[in-house]
């Protein structure tokens, strides 16, 4: 016997929630983010786009005779840091997405659907 599962009875895939408004919001977000990065700073603080740990914390600490040490595992070498940040973003994003889906999706018991169809 061939068992069929109606697509309407399955959990709603997450992209369905996006809709046109979602796509529009996403595009606006991307445009804003790009513009934000391209626009020149109003008040440049030393090296362009340095983190506040460099432009504030390390700068003030250096004035008082304290300097940052190399990290124990120094990934700040060439493109290695780029790789670990990308990896961290991707892994963190997937974990977040996995749990978000687990929290928000409507669970439909597959066995119950199969029983209904039979």
């Amino acid at each position: 016997m061939k068992l069929k599962v109606r697509s309407s009875e399955l959990a709603c895939p997450p992209y369905k929630h996006f809709g046109r408004r979602g796509v529009r919001s996403f595009l606006i977000f991307i445009l804003l983010l790009t513009a934000f990065c391209i626009l020149p700073p109003v008040a440049p603080a030393g090296e362009k786009w340095s983190g506040v740990d460099e432009s504030v914390i390390e700068k003030v600490a250096k004035e008082h005779g304290r300097e940052a040490r190399e990290p124990f595992i120094n990934t700040d070498q060439g493109d290695l840091l780029l790789f670990v940040f990308l990896l961290a973003g991707v892994v963190g994003g997937f974990i977040g997405g996995y749990y978000w889906r687990g929290l928000t999706e409507k669970r439909v018991d597959r066995v119950e659907i199969l029983k209904k169809d039979v």
Binding site: P41, G51, H64, E67, F85, G92, G93, L103
Partner: protein, 259 residues
């Protein structure tokens, strides 16, 4: 999840829609890995040790609360997992601030403090900070305790207490979330200023150095605090729409408000 068949064209679209934004954000943020945490070696040993000792009971209590709540409510674990991912990603995502010409990042501890409680939020922040210190050259192992206190303890408690106080005054949930996020971010940098000023002052007076550091943070953190507030409000409103029952269970909402 178990009833969805993967590998179809639709799933490829879903996969792309999740991977592309993540990759785009990650690629944009990698040029400046450093952002806010106190780096390795900045604090003298005695101050670094003191902040670590202060942080230990908070982290231990967070562990205790996690074990206790997870044993009672199984749906608590996915929420903690989600919050851990959110805090980790947000706190290692430097955002360029054009008004300052520098980068910094939000903390994410306001939203986690509100949703899972400040104790577990501290634990989540501690884990995120440890991973960043170990592998992302972000923060440091010797300054781990100081960073837990500023981002984990102060951020979580400021967010949680502000949200509770505003909600008890019957203020709208989005506004309460916004102010909680804003104050949590600013409280984090306020504490960082105290930690840094007390650690590096030497023989010079504390207050002028504290104000100097705090004022130096303002051009970057003022707009970022607003961004953090907007993010916190957005996440709470989204969860309210998707899972109001979860907010009731986490005591963020009263049952009658969720209807």
């Amino acid at each position: 999840m178990g009833n969805t068949k993967f590998g179809t064209r639709r799933d490829s679209k879903v996969l792309l829609s999740s991977v592309l934004p993540t990759a785009y954000c990650s690629l944009l943020t990698v040029s400046n890995a450093h952002a806010m945490h106190i780096s390795e070696g900045i604090l003298p040993f005695n101050w670094a040790a003191l902040w670590s000792i202060i942080a230990v009971p908070f982290v231990a209590y967070g562990l205790y609360r996690l074990r206790k709540l997870s044993a009672v409510d199984l749906s608590f674990k996915p929420l903690v997992g989600l919050m851990a991912a959110v805090v980790f990603i947000i706190s290692c995502m430097p955002i360029p601030v054009p008004t300052a010409g520098s980068c910094s990042h939000p903390c994410g501890t306001a939203i986690s403090g509100i949703l899972v409680g400040p104790a577990i939020s501290i634990l989540v922040a501690a884990v995120a900070l440890l991973i960043q210190a170990l592998f992302l050259a972000h923060g440091g192992l010797s300054t781990w305790g100081a960073n837990i206190i500023s981002m984990g303890v102060m951020g979580s408690f400021a967010g949680f207490l502000t949200f509770k106080a505003l909600r008890s005054m019957k203020i709208n949930m989005a506004v309460s979330g916004f102010v909680a996020g804003l104050l949590a971010d600013w409280a984090t940098y306020f504490t960082t200023s105290i930690e840094l000023a007390s650690g590096i002052k030497g023989d010079s007076p504390f207050m002028p150095l504290f104000w100097k550091i705090l004022i130096a943070f303002i051009p970057t953190q003022l707009p970022l605090g607003i961004l953090e507030g907007a993010m916190t409000a957005g996440m709470i409103v989204l969860l309210y729409k998707k899972r109001p029952d979860l907010l009731v269970r986490m005591k963020v909402l009263k049952a009658e408000e969720a209807v």
